[in-house]
Structures are given as structure tokens and as C-alpha cells.
């Protein structure tokens, strides 16, 4: 691990410095080998720190019995976002390191939607945005429900940034797939985000959107399979509310 510290200093100034170059090579190899693990453990650490931060925020919040400053909403929103991103990075790392498999069970779709609404409940209570959840009570789906509700939750969280006042969360059976929809009444996805399942999503440096949320849910979707049918996602602007529509298909 100590080798990593020196790697910037050893960055080759000139190709003539052969010995340095070898040192650099070794260090860089050490970097490639260890970096993912360091990244993962750091992310884990950040998550712990974040959860303490959130506990502190909620304590502070409880000291304001009636009129809470609006900053709390922003704090919760941002910490939610941060937490979801860290969780997704960590999960992607584990998938890559073969330390992960889905925990699939037959789940009630109603329960999954309830979980997502619950996750957003504090936030929605503080804003003017309406989140509507719709599905049949007897709809069931084979999936890793923890992961799916987290992934969809992130997207709902995102939708709050882009919608005007309404988000519709729904699910239904379509042929051999159960489809989850997130629709909003905003201006819709930008062109580079409109894609079918297989494409990777554009990184938009201006809005700061990394595409992690979509990439994550696309990866998780694909891991769900029944024989040779895999899950996938779709993004379009065919929302019944006039804005963006995200669809997650699970076999």
C-alpha cells in the first residue's frame, strides 16, 4: 500500500529516466491492483460518515418543533443523493469483484412501491411535489427487492430535480415482464439520455449528471434473468404527465 503514496512523484518527466520508469511501472501496477479495493473501502467509510452526518442533521431538526428552516429539506435531499451514489458505486465494485449476487425472491410489487414512497416521505413532506404510486395489489415479481427499490428510489430522487410538481410511479405486468415506470411532468430527458438498454449513458458535465443512476439500474436489470430473458431499461419522453418516462423491465 505504501507504494501508492509515491506514484505522483514518480510520474515520468522524461523517457530517458529508465530506472524511474521501472519504478513508476511497478507503482502504477500496484495502483491498478489496489485502487479498486481502496476505492471500495473509502466509499464504505464515506457511507459510515454520512450516516452519522444524517443522524446529526435529524437531531438538529428535532430541535425545531414547528417551523423548520427550509435548508433541512435540501440537506436531506443531498444526503440521500450522496448515499445512493455511494451505495451504487460499492455495489458495482462488488459485482466486478465477484463478491455479489442478487438475492432474488418473489416480492409483492406493492411492497416495493411502498418502500420507495417511504424512502421519499420526509422529503416530499417538505416540498410541493406530489408522488403518486399505482399498482395492483396482487402483482408479484421475482427480484432482489432491496436493490430494486433502492435503484428506483434514486431515479425518483432524480425526478424530483427535474419535475414541475408531479411524479407518477407505477408498475404492471406486460407479457412476461413486470414493468416499473417513473414518469414526471418536467421538460423530459435531454437527447443524449434517450436510449435503449444496452447503450451507456452520456455524462453531462454541465448539469453534473454522471449517468451513474441509470448505469446502475441498467446493470442490475440485466442481472435479473429468467432462463435467457434478461431485464432491461428504457428512457423516453412518452410520460403521461408530459415529461420524462423511465421504464424498468424485469423478467
Amino acid at each position: 500500500m505504501t507504494k501508492l503514496v509515491g506514484y505522483k512523484r514518480n510520474w515520468p518527466a522524461s523517457p530517458a529516466l529508465n530506472s524511474n520508469k521501472i519504478a513508476f511501472m511497478t507503482d502504477l501496477q500496484a495502483l491498478t491492483v489496489h485502487f479498486p479495493a481502496i476505492l471500495a473501502s473509502s466509499v464504505h467509510d464515506m457511507k459510515n460518515s454520512l450516516s452519522n452526518l444524517r443522524a446529526l442533521i435529524s437531531q438538529l431538526e428535532s430541535q425545531y418543533p414547528t417551523a423548520k428552516p427550509p435548508e433541512f429539506k435540501q440537506l436531506e435531499f443531498e444526503s440521500n443523493r450522496l448515499n445512493n451514489s455511494l451505495m451504487q458505486l460499492l455495489t458495482l465494485y462488488k459485482i466486478d469483484a465477484s463478491q455479489f449476487n442478487l438475492n432474488v425472491d418473489e416480492s409483492s410489487v406493492r411492497d416495493i412501491l411502498d418502500d420507495i414512497v417511504a424512502q421519499q416521505s420526509n422529503l416530499l413532506a417538505l416540498s410541493d411535489i406530489e408522488l403518486i404510486a399505482e399498482c395492483d395489489d396482487d402483482l408479484f415479481c421475482f427480484c432482489d427487492s432491496t436493490l430494486i427499490s433502492n435503484a428506483i428510489g434514486t431515479l425518483v430522487n432524480n425526478a424530483q430535480r427535474y419535475c414541475r410538481s408531479k411524479i407518477l410511479l407505477s408498475a404492471k405486468q406486460e407479457g412476461e415482464y413486470v414493468v416499473f415506470y417513473i414518469e414526471d411532468d418536467g421538460t423530459g430527458y435531454p437527447q443524449n439520455f434517450l436510449a435503449d438498454s444496452q447503450k451507456t449513458f452520456g455524462i453531462d458535465l454541465i448539469t453534473g449528471n454522471t449517468g451513474l443512476g441509470l448505469f446502475f439500474v441498467a446493470t442490475i436489470a440485466k442481472m435479473h434473468h429468467q432462463v435467457d430473458r434478461h431485464g432491461y431499461i428504457k428512457t423516453d419522453n412518452a410520460s403521461s404527465l408530459g415529461g420524462a418516462r423511465f421504464s424498468l423491465y424485469l423478467p
Binding site: 454520512l50 455495489t91 465477484s98 455479489f100 432474488v104 411502498d114 432491496t146
Partner: protein, 540 residues
């Protein structure tokens, strides 16, 4: 049935004051009235000893002492949790069911941090509903009534509640495995797999293959599971067992090591590794695992004095020195007032002094061993008893040796593998025939008692027959034939001279004992059905 937190007694175990406050705040906002808090694992257990909780919210990370999983294990072990209590393990681990997976004792649910009040309430409500739905099964399991649990599980399945269906099928198949009803279990697993490729169903099939001694198929199936579901840790445990059964200790160790790499906190796996490595005479690996088990054991209910004596014995072989006595005092310190630990310590001490040439002290410790053996020997694990017997033989105490061996043979007369071990140990010291003639004698005694009971029964002397056989159970407690015959005679008695509640309960206790002894469903299932029929006639 709706969950009302108002009426629930709740324990919040969390080491960080800020988090504890937050959780309490959330719970009070949801109408909770009775909340007890604990800031460490030890205090959580202490609180559970004092109060019977309906809900326990326990953080996995509780600082330096016990972790949340260990709290759960200890609470279950000490029976501090009522069967309908909800235990939720709180963690920031995204994949807790897999990463934190213990070999047994899973919490009712995991709650992943961060969460808000609504999320917590959702989770509690779902646990509550599930517990409520499964209560009829759990009550019977709590009493050891497997067949009644199966009956209730069937009834619940017939209600066709889709939310419960998969869980009930899984429970039904596991119960079938417990009574060695492989046919039913296999049918369920195959049906589930037709619907969906779920790892637990595949694991079930592999376990059946293992139990039917088809080790090759078990190994194939398990390796396949691990390839596709690398976090399915139970598959590694079964793979190790299957490899061990085929004599491939090396492969068994590899499988367990893989599981430990993925989930390092499991003491039971370390103990398994230590024993396997000892068997294969891989001393370094064994010692490493013993040390890990001792370390993990500090806060675990699974800690075992055997880990200390295993390590000490290996070290003694390699390099006898007086430092080993420290290990003995550690052992006594870790297990105060534990007869088994005292026996182990005395045996070890005697061996260590002997190896160091301190004969007076060695003799003193040996005498201590003998005294403890007289007091507690019968409750000691059989591997320790064998060891004590060997020590006695070395000292020329053949009477004690004889006594222990006879007792071991009597209590393990159906366990072919263990009898082989005994024969092996005896032939090393007493010559080939010693154990064989002992075993023969016990078996003959068994046949005589059994024949006596059966002929009394045939003469119509039911009472006398039962009394002869029941007396034998005291002497040969683990013999299948006697227990099976008692059950049959009791059923006959119920049929002919009418049934009372007491008789039905007694017969049920013998059936439960038979299942516990491993008598398979094809032998006992019919008797259970008969008892159920007789009991229901009585109720009418």
C-alpha cells in the same frame, strides 16, 4: 391484525449516542411508549434478561464487544426472545443477508442505514404480519413437534396467500428434510426451480444428494451454485461436508477458506477448519484457525473450550514449554464455572507437566481430572471423554478406562462411525478384540432387552413391556430400535385401552425423540399419522 407500537416493548441497541437518540425520536413519533436502550452488546443481553421484548432493533456494529449478530445468537441460545418477537439487525452493509450471514440464527429482517421513520414502520409492519402468519408453525417448532409444524404449514399453504407462498414452500421443504422425507422436499425444490432459478432450491437439491450419500452429485450441484451465486455462503459449508465425506480434506478446507474470505466473522467455520486441518495433520492451518476461533469466541456464544485444548495440544506436540500453561489459565478465565472447560484444563495441565518432566504436578493434575470426570464426565463431549480414557489408560487406570469406554459405546451404539473411532483407539492400546467384544456385549444386551420387551408385549403384558423398554432408554438413551418399539407399543395401548391426554403427549414425545435420533420419515411417518388419528378420536 395491525401493529401498534403503543403496546410494544422495544429495545434499541446502538453504541452511538446520536444514532440512539435519533432512533428513539423516530419511534416516539410513531407512538411507541416503552423503549429501553442499550449502548453495548452486553447491556442488550442484560436488558433482554430483565424484560421480554416484542421488538429488538439492534445495530450490527456495537463497538468493541459483541456485535449485533452475536447478540442475536446469544439471545436465541439463552431463549431470551419469545418466539413471536421481532429482531431486526440494523446495518450500513448493502447486502447484509449475504455478507453478515451467520451459519444459523438469522434475524427476522435487516434494515439498511440510513432509513427514515416511514421505512422503519413499513419494515416492522411486514415482519409483524409475517411472524403472525407463521406463528402456528413456530409454536410447534418451539415444542419440537415437527409433524404438527408440517401440518400447520400445509394448512397455511392451502390458504394460497401469494405473499407467503414462496416462504411457506421453503419452510415446508426444510421441514421435510428434517424428518428425512426426501421425496417431498425434492418435489418442492424441483417445482420451485421450474418457476424460477432460486439458489435456495438448488441448495436444497444438493443437500438431499448429500444426505442420500450421492456425494458426487452434491459436489457438482454445489460448485454450480457457487459459480453463479458466489455469496451463497451455505453452499460452501455443504461443499466442505461433501468433500470431507469423500475423504478429500484438502478440498473441504479450500471451500471453507473461500467462505471465510467472503464473510470473516463466522466462528463456526473457523472451528470447522481447525478440526478438519487437525484431521489432515495440517498443524499450521489448524493452529491459525484455532487462534481465529479463540479471538472471535471472546464475544460469541459459540466459543468453545475445545479451541483452546486443540491449539494447546498441537503446540505441545511441537514444542513443549511452560508458556502453554498460560493457555490453560486463559481457558479457565474464559469459561468460569464450566465443567467441560475445567475437565479440559485439568487434562491439558497434566499433559503439559508430564511433557516438562514435572511429575508431581502432572500427577496432581491427573487426580484433579479423575475427580472432575467422576463429577461431570458423563455430560462431557464424547471426544473429550475418549481423551480422558486414553490418559487413564496411560496411567494404568484400566478400570476408569473400561468404564468410560462402556458408557461411550452404550450411548453411541447406533453411530457406526464413532464405534469405528472407538475400536481404533482401543486397538492402539488394548489390542484388536477389546472394543469389538465390548461392542458385541452391548449389542447383545440390547437385543436381549428388546426381545424381552417384545415377548412381554406379545403375551399381552403391555405395561410390563413398556416398563422394561423404558428402563432401557435410561441405559441406552440413543438407540433407535428401543425408541421405535416403545412408540409402537404406546400406540397399540392407545388404540386398545383408550387414550388420555397424558398418554398422547407421552407418545408424541417419543416420536419427537425418534425424529431427533434420525429415524426417517418412512419408518415414523405412519406412526405419527396413527397418533394424530387416535388423538382426534379422543377429542371427539
Amino acid at each position: 391484525m395491525k401493529l401498534n407500537l403503543n403496546s410494544q416493548t422495544i429495545l434499541v441497541a446502538e453504541d452511538q449516542a446520536v444514532m440512539r437518540e435519533t432512533l428513539k425520536h423516530i419511534l416516539y413519533e410513531m407512538n411507541a411508549q416503552r423503549i429501553v436502550e442499550a449502548e453495548s452488546g452486553v447491556n442488550a443481553i442484560a436488558a433482554m434478561r430483565k424484560t421480554s421484548f416484542d421488538i429488538v432493533l439492534c445495530d450490527y456494529n456495537l463497538g468493541t464487544g459483541k456485535n449485533g449478530q452475536q447478540v442475536l445468537e446469544e439471545a436465541k441460545h439463552l431463549k431470551l426472545l419469545p418466539f413471536n418477537a421481532i429482531f431486526i439487525l440494523v446495518t450500513s452493509e448493502q447486502n447484509p443477508g449475504m455478507v453478515l450471514s451467520a451459519v444459523d440464527n438469522k434475524p427476522d429482517d435487516y434494515l439498511i442505514k440510513p432509513f427514515n421513520g416511514q421505512q422503519l414502520l413499513n419494515r416492522l409492519e411486514r415482519c409483524f404480519m409475517r411472524k403472525h402468519a407463521l406463528a402456528d408453525i413456530e409454536i410447534e417448532l418451539d415444542q419440537g413437534n415437527l409433524y404438527q409444524a408440517i401440518g400447520n404449514c400445509e394448512k397455511l399453504l392451502a390458504q394460497n396467500d401469494k405473499k407467503m407462498r414462496m416462504q411457506l414452500l421453503k419452510i415446508r421443504a426444510e421441514l421435510a428434510l428434517k424428518i428425512s422425507d426426501f421425496k417431498t422436499a425434492k418435489a418442492i425444490y424441483l417445482d420451485v426451480l421450474l418457476e424460477r432459478d432460486l439458489p435456495w432450491a438448488r441448495l436444497g437439491l444438493a443437500i438431499i444428494a448429500f444426505m442420500q450419500a450421492d456425494y458426487e452429485q452434491a459436489i457438482d450441484g454445489l460448485q454450480d451454485i457457487i459459480l453463479q451465486f458466489p455469496m451463497q455462503l451455505e453452499a460452501y459449508d455443504w461443499l466442505a461436508k461433501a468433500h470431507e465425506a469423500t475423504g478429500n480434506i484438502e478440498a473441504a478446507l479450500t471451500a471453507l477458506n473461500q467462505a471465510i474470505e467472503l464473510s470473516p466473522q463466522t466462528i463456526l467455520r473457523q472451528q470447522q477448519i481447525a478440526l478438519l486441518a487437525d484431521k489432515a495433520e495440517q498443524v499450521d492451518i489448524a493452529n491459525k484457525a484455532y487462534r481465529a476461533a479463540i479471538k472471535l469466541g471472546k464475544h460469541s456464544v459459540h466459543k468453545s473450550s475445545r479451541d483452546f485444548s486443540g491449539l494447546a495440544k498441537n503446540l505441545l506436540k511441537n514444542n513443549p514449554n511452560s508458556n502453554l500453561l498460560n493457555l490453560v489459565s486463559d481457558l479457565l478465565e474464559q469459561f468460569p464455572n464450566d465443567p467441560e472447560a475445567r475437565l479440559r484444563a485439568a487434562t491439558l495441565e497434566s499433559e503439559i507437566y508430564g511433557a516438562l518432566g514435572k511429575n508431581v504436578l502432572a500427577q496432581e493434575s491427573y487426580e484433579k481430572t479423575l475427580k472432575l470426570n467422576e463429577q461431570f464426565g458423563q455430560e462431557a463431549p464424547r471426544e473429550l471423554r475418549l481423551e480422558i480414557a486414553q490418559a487413564c489408560f496411560k496411567k494404568g487406570d484400566s478400570e476408569v478406562f473400561d468404564h468410560i469406554m462402556q458408557d461411550l459405546i452404550k450411548t453411541n451404539i447406533d453411530d457406526r462411525k464413532f464405534l469405528e473411532t472407538i475400536t481404533q483407539v482401543c486397538s492402539d492400546v488394548m489390542g484388536e478384540n477389546y472394543a469389538e467384544s465390548l461392542i458385541h456385549r452391548v449389542k447383545q444386551e440390547l437385543v436381549d432387552i428388546n426381545n424381552n420387551g417384545v415377548s412381554l408385549f406379545k403375551e399381552g403384558k403391555t405395561k410390563e413391556a413398556l416398563s422394561v423398554l423404558e428402563q432401557a432408554v435410561g441405559n441406552l438413551p440413543n438407540n433407535q430400535t428401543i425408541v421405535l418399539n416403545i412408540t409402537k407399543i404406546m400406540l397399540h395401548d392407545l388404540k386398545t385401552s383408550g387414550s388420555t391426554m397424558a398418554k398422547v403427549q407421552k407418545a408424541q414425545a417419543y416420536i419427537n425423540k425418534a425424529v431427533q435420533l434420525g429415524i426417517t420419515h418412512d419408518k415414523i411417518g405412519g406412526l405419527q399419522a396413527e397418533l394424530a388419528r387416535l388423538a382426534s378420536i379422543k377429542l371427539k
